[in-house]
Amino acid sequence: MSCREFEEKLLDEGTNVQEARVLSHLHECSRCRGLYEDLAVLEKMNRSLRQGVKAPPDFYRKIAGSSMSGGDLARLLLGGLASVMLFVTSGALVPTTSAELPSSGEGEIVESRRPDSSRDRVRNRFQREDLHRWVKEDQPVSSSYVELRVEDSSGTPVLVRVPRTVEVRTSNLHYGLYWQRVSH
C-alpha cells in the first residue's frame, strides 16, 4: 500500500480502520504513523465537541407556544393533568413527583410475553419494530408495574409489563406517547 492510498483510507474512514494492509503500512512507515497519530488526537478532540452544549430545560416550551394553537396546547396540558388525576383517583398508585422520576426520555420494558411464543422472541420484536397501537387500557398488576395489551406494527397482540412510575411523569416523553392513548 502506498502512502497516498494509506492517507486516503485514513481520511475517509478514520483511525478505527482495521484492514491488514493498512495496519501493515502503519507499522512500516514512520511518516504515515505521524499522520495516524495526529488524526487520532483530532478524533478524540472532536468527541469533546459533542459534549457540553445541550438544549436548555425549557427548550420545548417555546416550540409548543409558537407552533400549537391555544386549543392544542390546552389539550396537551389538560391531557397530562387528567392522566395524573386518573392515577390519583384510582388509588392504585401514589403519584411520584417528577423530581423522583428518571429524567431520561426512554423507558424500559421490564418484562414482556405473548401466550404463543417465547419471551425472547417477543423481546426481539420490540427491538426491531415499533409498538403500533395500544388496544386495551392498562391493567394494574402492582403498585410498581402495569401490564399493557398492545399490538406491534404487524398487528400481533403482545402483552408487556412496564414500570408504573414512568407513566405519572407526563414529560417522560417516550411514555408520553403511551400516556395520551390510555387516558383518552
Binding site: E8, L11, D12, L35, E37, D38, L39, V41, L42, E43, M45, N46, S48, L49, R50, V53, K54, A55, P56, F59, Y60, K62, I63, A64, S66, S67, M68, D72, R75, L76, G105, E106, G107, E108, I109, V110, S112, R123, F126, Q127, D130, L131, H132, S153, V162, L173, H174, G176, L177, W179, Q180, R181
Partner: protein, 194 residues
C-alpha cells in the same frame, strides 16, 4: 434482561400527523441536543443556536405533512437546521462581522491562520482537554464554510458520508474531498498541539 422501547422517527411523524402531539414532543426530545450542538458548532453563539434549533422544530412541526419518508427524518431536520444556520452566517457577514474576523486575521477566502503565541505552552507541554477543545473550535471556525459544514456533520455529528451528502446536496465524492481538505487544514492549523 431489560429491553429499551423506542419509536422510529418515521412512526412518530405518522403518529403526529394523526393528531398525537406527544409524538412530536418525543422527536424534539430526541434531536434537541444534537441540533443545538450542531448549530452552535457552526455559529458559536449559544442563544442563537437555541433559537435556530427551536425554529427548526417549528418548521418541521408546520411542514410535517410534506415529509414523504423517502429519506431519513434526521436528514430532513439537519437540512432545515443547516439552511437556517447558513442564513444566519450570511446575515452576520452582511452586518459587518467580517470586520471582526479581519481583526482576528481571517483572510478574504475565509481562512484564518491559527496563531499560537510564543507565550503559550510548547507542543511538548501537555495541554488540558478544555484548552485543546478551545483551540479546535478556533481552528474549525477558521475553516471556510464549505469545509466546516462537512467536517461538523461528519466528524462531530457523526453522520455517514451518504447522509452528510444528502443534507448538503453533495455527492459522496465531493463530501469525501471536502472532508479530506478540512482534516488536512485542521492538522496544519493544530500542528503545534497535536
Amino acid at each position: 434482561m431489560a429491553t429499551t422501547l423506542t419509536f422510529a422517527d418515521n412512526a412518530l411523524i405518522v403518529a403526529y400527523l394523526k393528531g398525537d402531539d406527544y409524538a412530536f414532543q418525543i422527536l424534539v426530545d430526541r434531536y434537541q441536543d444534537r441540533l443545538v450542538n450542531y448549530i452552535y458548532n457552526l455559529i458559536r453563539d449559544y442563544d442563537q443556536a437555541v433559537d435556530l434549533s427551536q425554529e427548526t422544530f417549528i418548521r418541521v412541526f408546520r411542514h410535517a405533512h410534506r415529509y414523504k419518508g423517502n429519506y431519513k427524518f434526521s436528514t430532513w431536520i439537519y437540512k432545515i437546521a443547516t439552511n437556517l444556520a447558513l442564513d444566519e452566517m450570511r446575515r452576520r457577514k452582511r452586518r459587518g462581522f467580517f470586520l471582526t474576523q479581519r481583526l482576528f486575521g481571517i483572510s478574504e477566502q475565509g481562512e484564518m491562520e491559527l496563531q499560537i503565541s510564543d507565550g503559550r505552552p510548547s507542543p511538548e507541554v501537555h495541554l488540558g482537554s478544555k484548552e485543546k477543545a478551545r483551540l479546535l473550535r478556533i481552528a474549525i471556525d477558521s475553516l471556510p464554510p464549505r469545509y466546516r459544514l462537512v467536517f461538523v456533520l461528519k466528524e462531530v455529528q457523526e453522520l455517514s458520508l451518504e447522509e452528510t451528502g444528502n443534507v448538503l446536496n453533495l455527492s459522496v465524492g465531493t463530501v469525501k474531498s471536502r472532508l479530506h481538505r478540512a482534516k488536512r487544514l485542521l492538522r496544519d492549523k493544530l500542528s503545534r498541539i497535536l
